[in-house]
C-alpha cells in the first residue's frame, strides 16, 4: 500500500547459510519482535485507523455515520486544500533545487581537496542540523523583523526600505530560507559521504587521459553519487509536502501572511485541533500522503531510468 523502495533497497548482505535455518528459524524474531511491535502500534495502526476514519462523518445528530467516499469528494473540491498544495508545490519547485544545488557544490568543493581548513568547513556547515526547527525559526523570525531584527538594522543603517520579509508576498521565500539553512549541511554530508566512496583511481585514470576537473565532476563524480542525489531529492520532497513547524512557529509574527491553511499539514492540524473535524482531517492527510508518494515515486523512477 505504501511501499516506496528507495534505490538503496538492496539488502546489506547475503543471508547466512541456510544450513542452520531449521535450528534457529524463529530466534531472530526474539530480537526483532520488540521493534516490530512498537512499529505496528505507531506506524501501521494509525494508517489503518486513518483510512477507517476517512470513511465516516461525525454528525451532531446521528453520531458517527458511514459516508463512503464523501469526504474524498469534498477534499477534491476543497479550494483551501488545493491552495495549500499549490503553495507547497511552488515551495518545492524553488527551494529543493536551490538547497540541493548548494549542498552539492559544497560537497564537491570539500571532496576536491582544494580547500584550506576542510574539516572546519564540513562540521560548521553541518551544525544547523543540530538546531531544532523551533529555535531556527525563532532566530530567523527575529532577524527578519523590522523592529528587533537585522532587516530593521539594515534599513536604518543604510536609509533603505527592504521589503517586509514577513509580508504575504515574501513569507514563503522567508520560510524557504529557514529550511535551506537547516538542511543544506545535512544534504551536503550525504553527498560528501557518497563521494568519499568513489575510488580515487578513477580520477587518476581520467587525469592521465587529460580530463579536467569539470569533466571529472560531470562524467565520474555526479554519476557515481546519483543514488544519493535521488534519495536526498525524495526526502526533500517529502519534507516540503510536510511543511508545518516553520510556518506554525512563524505565524505569531506574521498573522496576516500565514493562514491556518498555509500548508496541507497545517490545514489538517487546524481541521483536527481547532475545528474538531477529525474525519475530514484524516481524509486530507491520506490524500496528501498519496500525492507525496506518487511524486516521490515518479522522481525515483526518473532518477533510476537515467542510470540504466
Amino acid at each position: 500500500m505504501t511501499t516506496l523502495q528507495p534505490p538503496v533497497a538492496a539488502e546489506p548482505r547475503p543471508a547466512p547459510p541456510p544450513a542452520k535455518r531449521d535450528r534457529r528459524s524463529w530466534t531472530g524474531w526474539g530480537f526483532l519482535g520488540p521493534f516490530v511491535a512498537v512499529f505496528a502500534l505507531v506506524f501501521l495502526a494509525p494508517i489503518v485507523y486513518s483510512i477507517y476514519l476517512s470513511l465516516f462523518r461525525n454528525q451532531l445528530i446521528g453520531g458517527n455515520q458511514f459516508v463512503g467516499l464523501d469526504n474524498y469528494t469534498r477534499a477534491l473540491q476543497d479550494e483551501a486544500f488545493w491552495g495549500a498544495v499549490g503553495r507547497v508545490a511552488l515551495f518545492l519547485a524553488v527551494q529543493v533545487p536551490l538547497m540541493l544545488g548548494i549542498a552539492l557544490l559544497v560537497a564537491l568543493a570539500l571532496d576536491s581537496g582544494r580547500l584550506y581548513g576542510k574539516s572546519f568547513f564540513r562540521i560548521t556547515i553541518f551544525l544547523p542540523y543540530a538546531v531544532p526547527a523551533v529555535v531556527a525559526t525563532l532566530m530567523w523570525g527575529f532577524m527578519y523583523g523590522t523592529k528587533y531584527g537585522l532587516v530593521g538594522d539594515i534599513n536604518s543603517a543604510f536609509g533603505v526600505t527592504l521589503p517586509d520579509l514577513l509580508s504575504p508576498g515574501w513569507v514563503l521565500a522567508s520560510i524557504g530560507n529557514i529550511v535551506t539553512w537547516e538542511f543544506v549541511g545535512y544534504n551536503m554530508l550525504i553527498f560528501y559521504s557518497a563521494l568519499r566512496v568513489v575510488p580515487t583511481s578513477l580520477y587518476e585514470a581520467a587525469e592521465i587521459d587529460g580530463a579536467g576537473q569539470w569533466r571529472i565532476i560531470r562524467s565520474i563524480k555526479l554519476p557515481a553519487i546519483r543514488g544519493a542525489i535521488v534519495i536526498a531529492t525524495i526526502f526533500s520532497i517529502i519534507g516540503s509536502f510536510q511543511l508545518f513547524n516553520e510556518p506554525s512557529i512563524l505565524r505569531p509574527l506574521a498573522l496576516n501572511s500565514i493562514t491556518t491553511d498555509f500548508t496541507p499539514n497545517f490545514y489538517t492540524y487546524s481541521l483536527s485541533f481547532n475545528g474538531q473535524q477529525h474525519n475530514y482531517s484524516a481524509t486530507v492527510a491520506i490524500i496528501m500522503g498519496v500525492i507525496t508518494m506518487i511524486v516521490a515515486y515518479a522522481v525515483q523512477l526518473r532518477g533510476m531510468r537515467k542510470e540504466a
Binding site: T2, Q5, P7, V8, A9, P12, R13, P14, A15, P16, R24, S25, T27, G28, F31, L32, P34, F35, V36, V38, V42, F43, P46, Y49, L53, S112, T124, L127, P128, A130, V131, P132, V134, V135, L138, M139, K147, Y148, D153, W181, R196, V197, V198, E204, G227, A228, I231, I234, F235, I238, N245, I249, P252, N265, Y269, S272, H278, A282, A285, A296
Partner: protein, 307 residues
C-alpha cells in the same frame, strides 16, 4: 524528523567499513583560495544566525529593541538572562529541560535499543517474514510522518495516553533509519563465524548477543544514539498535538509558547528569555556533535547511511 538511507553508490552488496582512500600522489590538488573564500561565505550564512543568538542572549528586553542586532548593547545581561530563564514562572524552564532529558533518555535510548536488537536480527538470522519486515519498514519511512499524527493522537486519546509523557515517548521508540543503519552495520561488523563459535561453546543467544555482538556494534550504536537524540530533542509536532499541560512540555514546545505569549493580550513580552532559552537548548546538541565527531562520522561512513 527526516530520515534517509543511502547505499554506497558502488552497488556492492556488502558496504565496507571506511574504505581507506589512497593518497592522491600524482598531481596532488593545489589549494584554491577562491574556492576557500566561497566556502567561507557559505560558513558565514551558516553561523550568522548562531552568532546573532549568542550576541542577543546578552541583551535585556530593552537592549534588544534599541541596539544593532549584530553587536552588543551597552548592558551585558547574559548571566541575568540565564538566571531569569531558569527562575521565570517558578522555574518552568528547568522542568522543560528535565522533561526533554526524560523524553530523550527513554525515547532515543529505547529507539536505539530496539534498532540494535532488530538490526542484529536482520543481519545475522534467517527467519520467516524477514523480507516482508524489510519491505514494510522501508516503505513506512516514505509515509509522511505528520500524516500519521492525527490518527495517532486519536488512538492515544482513546487509550488515555494523551497529556502523559508516554504519548511522546512511545512514538519516539521507532526509528526506521536506526534499524537500517544497525542492520548494515551489524552485517559488516560481526563475523558470523564468531557467533558460530560462541554458540558452539554453548553460549545462549542472549549471552552471545551481549558478550560477542554488542561490543563490536559500539560505533554504530553511538551514531544511532546521536541521531535519535537529535530527533527526540528537536521534536516539536508530536508534543504539540499530544500535550496540553505545560508541565509536560519539552524545551521546544516551551520556547514557542514563550514566544507566542507576547502576541496574546496582556501577555508578558520576554523575548530576551526566548533568545537565551534557545541558546541553552541548542548548546548540548552542538557540543555532542562536536565532541563525538569522530564516532558519528565514521559510523555514517561505515554504512554509507546518513540521516
Amino acid at each position: 524528523m527526516s530520515t534517509s538511507v543511502t547505499a554506497s553508490p558502488a552497488k556492492s552488496a556488502a558496504p565496507r567499513l571506511r574504505t581507506p582512500r589512497k593518497k592522491h600522489t600524482p598531481g596532488k590538488p593545489k589549494r584554491n583560495v577562491l574556492l576557500t573564500v566561497l566556502m567561507a561565505l557559505m560558513v558565514l550564512y551558516t553561523v550568522v544566525p548562531l552568532i546573532w543568538l549568542i550576541i542577543n542572549s546578552t541583551k535585556t528586553q530593552a537592549g534588544l529593541a534599541d541596539s544593532n542586532g549584530l553587536w552588543f548593547a551597552h548592558d551585558f545581561a547574559l548571566w541575568d538572562n540565564v538566571r531569569d530563564t531558569f527562575t521565570y514562572h517558578d522555574g518552568i524552564f528547568g522542568r522543560w529541560l528535565l522533561n526533554t532529558l526524560l523524553y530523550v533518555g527513554l525515547g532515543a535510548g529505547g529507539a536505539t535499543l530496539l534498532a540494535v536488537l532488530g538490526g542484529y536480527a536482520l543481519a545475522k538470522f534467517q527467519f520467516p517474514g524477514r523480507r516482508a519486515v524489510f519491505a514494510v519498514v522501508i516503505g513506512a519511512v516514505a509515509v509522511p510522518g505528520t500524516a500519521l499524527a492525527v490518527p495517532t493522537f486519536l488512538m492515544f486519546s482513546k487509550m488515555g495516553l494523551t497529556d502523559t509523557p508516554w504519548a511522546v515517548i512511545i512514538p519516539s521508540l521507532v526509528s526506521p533509519f536506526g534499524l537500517y543503519l544497525m542492520w548494515v552495520f551489524a552485517a559488516e561488523a560481526i563475523p558470523t563465524e564468531l557467533l558460530e563459535a560462541a554458540r558452539m561453546d554453548g553460549a545462549s543467544e542472549v549471552r552471545t548477543f551481549f558478550q560477542v555482538a554488542l561490543p563490536l556494534l559500539a560505533p554504530g550504536i553511538v551514531t544511532v544514539l546521536l541521531f535519535t537524540t537529535v530527533a527526540t530533542w528537536n521534536n516539536y509536532f508530536l508534543p504539540l498535538i499530544m500535550l496540553k499541560d505545560p508541565d509536560w512540555y519539552p524545551l521546544t514546545l516551551g520556547l514557542s509558547a514563550w514566544s507566542s505569549q507576547a502576541q496574546t493580550i496582556g501577555g508578558d513580552v520576554i523575548f530576551n528569555l526566548v533568545i537565551t532559552g534557545s541558546l541553552l537548548t541548542i548548546l548540548p546538541l552542538i557540543a555532542a556533535f562536536l565532541f563525538l565527531q569522530k564516532y558519528w562520522q565514521s559510523g555514517l561512513a561505515a554504512g554509507s547511511v546518513k540521516e
